[in-house]
């Protein structure tokens, strides 16, 4: 009951204050900077009405990185704060972070779980007190041995979601080809095989530990795939998805042969992939917050391991879709459309 009344109060005040500012602006003929002060007051009320109270128990550690990637972490943190309904202390980690200082601050604020974003954020948590739990996000994957003790929310889209979207665009699809480096994506391929089977698809996967081998597999796939029933998937794999050699080959040959290919990298949609699922940063933040809250609620007994990305948005290349004859009846539901105009 109390919560209800406090939630309403700032809104009313905000409206009254905006009205007051407006009346002042109307009346103000000379002193424009006086108007500025009144307006500022009004906006502060708006900000206060929508501001979050300080939170307890959860902190965020993220890499101090330049734009445009800085915005990615900013959005994730917004999602975390939205879910926890609190202002979460966050620490940007530069090239030489002061571990002691941050550890002291975490202790002072009684932090029980740290949400570590990015490789550097995760790396930093290795030096923290073991009593502080770690939930990781904003990374593709980490060695499975390291993931045994923590919960890692990967940026790799859940294969099942990719296959569901493939089915929607291409109901006749039966096989999905993929070339991957087992050192990077063995964990994901295990999930992908199950997900494909569940959707009535066959995942035809090839392991390649170097680019040369990968290229040979791609050439074979592109020569033999049947555009009516087959599709190619490019995962996030720095060995087998080389931007200089593999991508141009895949783009050209799939266009020429009318073969659908989709990617886990949204930039490939801009280049000509049919679709991609890319991270919904605010939703990632909410999921990380849930995981951290769960850790606190269960006294550190939350789930462990690497989890694929479920908070996804859909990017589609309408030009490629037109070329492949894919019907995009519900295109208003796409989050990102290429080409722009």
């Amino acid at each position: 009951m109390m919560k209800q009344s406090t939630a309403n109060w700032p809104g009313v005040t905000m409206w009254q204050d905006v009205t007051a500012v407006w009346l002042h602006v109307k009346a103000c003929r000379v002193n424009i900077w006086g108007t500025a002060l009144c307006g500022l007051l009004g906006l502060m009320v708006v900000a206060a009405a929508t501001a979050l109270p300080p939170g307890r128990g959860i902190a965020v550690i993220y890499p101090d990185i330049g734009e445009p990637y800085r915005s990615v972490f900013a959005k994730i943190i917004e999602g975390i704060e939205e879910q926890t309904r609190s202002r979460v202390p966050s620490f940007a980690i530069g090239a030489s972070p002061n571990l002691q200082e941050i550890a002291g601050e975490l202790s002072r604020q009684d932090i029980r779980v740290v949400i570590a974003l990015g490789r550097n954020g995760l790396k930093f948590t290795a030096g923290l007190d073991r009593n502080i739990g770690v939930v990781a996000g904003g990374v593709l994957s980490i060695p499975e041995t390291e993931a045994r003790n923590i919960s890692v929310h990967s940026l790799a889209p859940e294969p099942g979601l990719l296959f569901a979207r493939l089915n929607a665009f291409m109901p006749g699809a039966r096989r999905v080809f993929v070339v991957y480096d087992p050192n990077q994506n063995a964990w994901l391929m295990r999930l992908a095989k199950e997900a494909a089977r569940a959707r009535g698809l066959e995942l035809v996967s090839f392991e390649a530990s170097d680019l040369k081998t990968a290229l040979r597999f791609y050439q074979d796939i592109l020569a033999s795939a049947d555009p009516r029933t087959d599709a190619l998937w490019l995962p996030q794999d720095s060995t087998t998805v080389d931007e200089g050699a593999v991508l141009p080959l895949v783009l050209q040959e799939t266009w020429t042969r009318n073969l659908a290919f989709f990617s886990s990298n949204v930039a490939h949609v801009r280049r000509g992939a049919l679709f991609s699922l890319y991270p919904d940063n605010a939703e990632i933040g909410r999921q990380l917050a849930n995981s951290a809250l769960g850790y606190i609620a269960s006294n550190g007994q939350g789930p462990r391991g690497v989890f694929p990305l479920k908070a996804v948005l859909l990017a589609v290349n309408v030009r490629t879709a037109g070329h492949l004859g894919v019907n995009l009846a519900d295109k208003q539901n796409f989050d990102l459309v290429f080409p722009g105009r």
Binding site: M14, W22, V25, R29, I32, W33, G39, L43, V46, A47, A49, T50, P63, D64, I65, G66, E67, P68, Y69, S71, V72, A74, K75, E78, E82, S90, G118, R119, N120, L140, A156, E243, L247, P248, W255, S264, N265, V266, A267, R270, G272, Y278, P279, L309, L313, G322, H323, G325, A329, D330, K331, Q332, N333, F334, D335, L336, V337, P339, G340, R341
Partner: protein
């Protein structure tokens, strides 16, 4: 100067070599594989895009572009758009956006300006309003510019081009940001913006307050100088400085709830200087005030039912222009009808209201077709006019001083400068996007507008798009568009240019061919060709009876052709080069000579170099060349100019300060925009042919510093 520019060009290219030595941080590899390269990530992390697409030759300016170019005003953005050149008019130093040589004399009513899809253009002159002054960019999420006709979708005034300014929503501006900016000409700005949630409602709010003394370049000779020469008087204030200062307040509120969105805005411009002066005679004290209040509410559901989308919107705009005093001519000015010892003074005002309602439906149930239907109603009412002045105009348009010179008399009932007028419009449109063969799409659209005063006009649009290969798309576009006569052209009372209520709309037919080529994985080239024919162009023509002034008439014909070439090239992971070359040639068919004013050649180039994580250095240059005089104007050609700007920016996240520093017109180049020329009026030696003989000077070198803090 040439050496300076060689150095500057070196500075444009320097980042490429420097960057080659820098390694990409490991951290970015993961992010690049999930979010894409830097070109994609800023799109992918932005707000959901509007999917209302129609094939066109278009440019989209993002927040990242705005930051890189160091722009703080819409004018600075528009100058970077291929095919567009921003010129100035003497009155209020109003910025006029010339698209492809269509300049709109003296302003730009041929360009439709929208804010969040709602028309901004005013009713009086049909442009963005004489007291526009500027539009700050802190609260702008995206600017979409279409070159070419758009009447088949947007209706009136989408003639030479369409500018749609998209403001930030709560998703675009999370948290609270405070900012201050100051610099040359005693320019001071402060703003605050906030995005958040109030219960289930997304809230974005913005307030900006600013003021500037404006640049004070010297006008060597003005219209009063001409009268001085004629009558042996010494009234002119030339040589003297421009009057371009103003005070500004901008505010916006954006509320989103489910499928509903409510926006409201306020724009105040006060103490706005008169530029050179409203009659091209220097006026150091004249001030104008304008207020723009707007609100719109919309609802849309892209999946209202199977294969159906539905939406509607309603909008309200209240706009006033209220002049405290215009010193139209300085004290001591003599006309054939007498002397103005206290100067020729006026205090006009206009008040208008625009109410709009529209709805649309989309249907995708026919294989290969995407249909869109829409209809709407507009109530456009310039309901009040005030005309206070110390003179009356005689039958020839010559001012006759009041008996008591210094006293203003309300002539609103006797000789208002404009008769109030109300116009209604009902429209309906349909568009079909037909994918008739693999890689081929034909988009056909037609809109019919019925105006209560000048009747109906139907405007078609056809666009054939061929995805020729993986890397190449070709478009062939045809469209017809119209510009509604402005209320000034219909109902002005001034014998030098009387209104004509029988005017028809101006019309234009445009044919375009456009090619988009992904030349390399990191380089995109766009090439477009155009030609157009304008007819029924509205101009003031001398009346049949000599000595009775002029009246607006549909008389002009103009044709034009040209091309635009654009390049965006990511030279490395941290360096991007973008640039364009635009060419146009426009012929006035009445004289079969160049229509004048607009540059035949225009080059824009910019390099964006990100370094040391958060730093961005962006040099840019702008070359404007070959602006011919109008026929009969014997003045030497307007000199070409090349201006360079430099912006350094440090972007930091929440809880930290971000900084930007800009130098505009780095090498202090002399840059001028052409002034109008009018053919001599027989028997009226007091009306000179070129009122400002030495053209309009643009600001010299200027400096700006900005700091912003995010919470």
């Amino acid at each position: 100067m040439s050496r300076s520019f060689i150095k500057f060009l070196c500075a444009l290219l320097l980042p490429v070599w420097v960057d080659a030595a820098l390694a990409q941080p490991l951290e970015e590899e993961d992010l690049a594989m999930a979010y894409g390269d830097k070109a994609t990530v800023s799109i992918a992390t932005g707000a959901r895009q509007d999917l209302r697409r129609a094939p066109a030759v278009a440019t989209v300016i993002t927040v990242a572009d705005i930051k890189a170019m160091g722009a703080t005003d819409l004018d600075e953005v528009m100058e970077t758009v291929p095919g567009v050149h921003v010129t100035r008019t003497a009155n209020q130093y109003f910025s006029s956006y010339g698209f492809r040589g269509i300049n709109g004399i003296p302003t730009n009513p041929q360009v439709l300006v929208l804010q969040n899809g709602v028309q901004v253009n005013d009713l009086y002159r049909g442009d963005k309003g004489e007291a526009w002054s500027d539009l700050p960019l802190e609260n702008i999420a995206r600017i979409e510019i279409i070159r070419g006709p758009g009447s088949a979708l947007y209706g009136a005034d989408a003639f030479a081009g369409v500018i749609n300014i998209i403001t930030k929503t709560a998703a675009d501006t999370p948290g609270t940001e405070f900012g201050v900016r100051g610099g040359s000409f005693n320019t001071r700005n402060a703003w605050v913006q906030h995005g958040g949630k109030l219960g289930d409602v997304d809230v974005a709010a913005y307030l900006r307050v600013g003021s500037t003394d404006g640049h004070k370049e010297i006008i060597r000779s003005d219209a009063a100088s001409k009268l001085d020469k004629l009558f042996g008087t010494h009234a002119s204030l030339a040589p003297g400085p421009l009057n371009t200062g103003y005070d500004a307040v901008d505010a916006g509120l954006d509320l989103g709830y489910g499928k509903w969105r409510l926006r409201a805005g306020y724009k105040l411009r006060d103490n706005l200087g008169t530029g050179v002066g409203v009659s091209y005679a220097l006026d150091p004290v004249g001030k104008e005030k304008s207020e723009r209040i707007n609100a719109d509410v919309s609802w849309s559901d892209a999946q209202f039912a199977r294969n159906w989308g539905l939406g509607f919107s309603g909008s309200y705009l209240q706009y006033s222009e209220d002049v405290t005093t215009f010193n139209i001519y300085p004290p001591g000015t003599r006309f054939p009808t007498g002397v103005f010892p206290n100067g020729m003074i006026g205090s006009p005002g206009r008040w208008q209201r625009q109410v709009r309602a529209s709805g649309y439906a989309t249907y995708s149930g026919f294989a290969g077709h995407s249909l869109r239907f829409g209809l709407g109603h507009e109530d456009l009412n310039l309901y009040d006019v005030r005309t206070m002045k110390n003179f009356l105009l005689n039958a020839a348009g010559t001012p006759v001083p009041n008996p008591v010179s210094g006293v203003l008399i309300d002539y609103s009932g006797i000789q208002p400068h404009l008769v109030p007028h109300r116009r209604f419009n009902n429209y309906v449109y349909v568009q079909d996007e037909w994918n008739f063969a693999r890689d081929w799409t034909l988009t056909a659209g037609l809109r019919n507008d019925h105006f209560s005063d000048f009747g109906s006009t139907a405007n078609p649009r056809l666009a054939l798009v061929w995805d020729a290969s993986l890397d190449l798309t070709a478009k062939l576009l045809y469209g017809r568009a119209f510009r509604a006569p402005s209320f000034a052209e219909q109902y002005t009372i001034n014998p030098t240019a009387n209104g004509n209520s029988a005017l028809k709309p101006e019309s234009i037919r445009t044919l375009e061919a456009a090619f988009s080529w992904q030349a390399r994985k990191d380089a995109q080239i766009n090439l477009s060709f155009f030609r157009y024919d304008m007819k029924d162009t509205i101009r003031a023509m001398p009346n049949a009876v000599a000595g009775t002034g002029s009246t607006f008439a549909n008389t002009g014909k103009q044709n034009g052709r040209g091309a635009e070439l654009e390049l965006v090239w990511d030279l490395s992971r941290t360096v991007r080069f973008s640039g364009s070359y635009s060419n146009q040639k426009t012929i006035d068919e009445a004289t079969n000579t160049d229509a004048g004013y607009a540059p035949h050649h225009h080059v824009y180039a910019r390099a964006d170099w990100r370094f040391a994580g958060n730093w961005l250095l962006s040099p840019q240059l702008n070359w404007v060349a070959e602006r011919k005089r109008a026929v009969g104007d014997t003045r030497p050609a307007v000199p070409d100019y090349t201006s360079a700007d430099l912006t350094l920016r440090a972007e930091r996240g929440k809880g930290q300060w971000s900084f930007a520093a800009s130098i505009r017109n780095l090498f202090n180049a002399t840059a001028r925009e052409p002034t109008l020329y009018a053919a001599a009026v027989p028997g009226r030696p007091d009306i000179p042919t070129s009122l400002i003989p030495y053209d309009l000077p643009l600001p010299g070198r200027s400096f700006y510093l900005q700091a912003a803090y995010s919470l």
